[in-house]
Structures are given as structure tokens and as C-alpha cells.
Symmetry: C2
Subunit: 110 residues, 2 copies
DNA sequence: TGAAAGGTTCGAAATAATTCGAACAATGGA
DNA sequence: TCCATTGTTCGAATTATTTCGAACCTTTCA
């Protein structure tokens, strides 16, 4: 049987502030993080502002979030379950996630 | 006479979350912001981790912080006075600056 | 006035990040 | 078993960011 590949995730102690800030500094990635505040979603349920973006691009956005430690990406059948690493982020950078997620951003970067 | 150029600064209402996050996502720029928490400094008093970086590079780092609205850059004699735009940032993105500045970051991005 | 101090801007080169098609892999059903 | 679903990864092209020297601008002070 074997199973879907386990992707690498940084440990809590390895999280880097600047790397997390960078991951969240893209409007599309920030929007993804926001979609996960109410609980995990399968990748297909996470929407981008442009629905026509190829899956490889979407996968790359997820990778930036995952390697920064913002999001966890686990196999879930043939899908992928995305979840916010809220506990790790709160422990490592208290108040940061709340501030970022609760901020309103009428004029995004790009 | 005339006077030193007044550089453009975004208004409070124009501040963009992702742009601010991007500005702070670089270790050198984050370090500069941290040097300003206790009050304004002249540019020459803001130190980079590498003291040999050319002034044009340093000026560019400041520009990214300024155009993001993180820092104010005003003429001060022949020098430039840098200050954190704490009030604007706090008003626009409550808790964000505190979270970023108080976080410890043992493993910087680059 | 002349020149040094302290910075900004411009342009070009080097680096880094993003985008996306194609190839590949595992899962779940028919 | 076969094949559609749901992704990841690789490589190449595009685009964005960074770096830095050179030119330039004010201010200060001798």
C-alpha cells in the first residue's frame, strides 16, 4: 500500500519570524491562512482569488506556507488536509497570528 | 536655501498589511525597526549587521521601510531622522508591531 | 565660497521568487 | 484492474528584489 508522501515541516523551535512574515506577506498566501482559521480544509476547498491558477502554482503557494511553518499539510486520502499551525505560532510568536489575521487589509500589496 | 527633499510617505489609511509584513520580513530591515523602538535615530546611528554595506544599499533598505509605512524619514539638518510609525501602525494593525518587535528570532530567514 | 558630511537617486548586474506545463505518484471507485 | 482524482515535483522562463557604484543634492563649517 504505502501512502502519500509525508512532506517536511519545520519544528516549532525552528520557526523563523522573518520567514513567517515573508510567507504571510503575499496577499494570496495570507488569504489562504485566513481560510484556515476556522479549522482544517482540504486543498480543493482552499480558494484563490483567481480560480484559474494552475495547480502547480497553488501547490507552490502552499509549500511556502508549509516550509515557513504557517500551515501543516497532511495526506488525507487522495486529498491533502491543510491546517493552521496556530499553537506552534502562538507559542513561538505570541500575538502575531491574531494580529495578522484580525487586521483588515483593503489595499493589498500586489 | 530650499531644503532637503521631503520623501513621500503613505498615509495611515493607505497602509497595506502585506506590504508591512514584507518590509519586516527581511532580517536587516527588522533589525532597523527594532533599533527605533526607543525613539528616533539619525540614519548614521542605525546600524546594519554588516558595517561595510554601501550607503546606497542602506538607503534602499530604508526606502522599503518608508514606502511600507513602517518608518518615517525626515530631514534633520544634513542628516535624516528615522522614527517608527508606531501610532499609525498600532491604529491600523493593532497588536502587530508589538508582536513582531517582542518576538525573538534566533533563526533568521537568510 | 569651497569642500566635507550625510543621504538620495539612477541604472545595470546579480539574485531570488514566482509561474506554469509536463511528468510523476498515491488513492479510491467502477 | 483501470483510470479519474488530487495533488507534488522538476525545469525553464518570467518577473521582482537586492546590491552597489556613480552622480547628484543639501547642509554645515572653516
Amino acid at each position: 500500500m504505502s501512502s502519500s508522501p509525508d512532506l517536511p515541516h519545520p519544528e516549532r523551535s525552528e520557526l523563523s519570524l522573518t520567514t513567517v512574515l515573508f510567507a504571510l506577506s503575499d496577499p494570496e498566501r495570507l488569504a489562504i491562512a485566513r481560510q484556515l482559521v476556522d479549522g482544517p480544509l482540504d486543498m480543493a476547498e482552499c480558494h484563490l482569488s483567481n480560480p484559474d491558477v494552475p495547480k502547480s502554482t497553488k501547490s507552490h503557494l502552499m509549500k511556502v506556507l508549509r516550509t515557513a511553518g504557517v500551515v501543516r499539510n497532511e495526506a488525507n486520502g487522495r486529498a491533502r488536509r491543510l491546517s493552521l499551525r496556530r499553537e506552534d505560532l502562538d507559542a513561538r510568536f505570541p500575538g502575531l497570528l491574531d494580529a495578522v489575521l484580525s487586521a483588515d487589509d483593503p489595499k493589498p500589496k500586489a
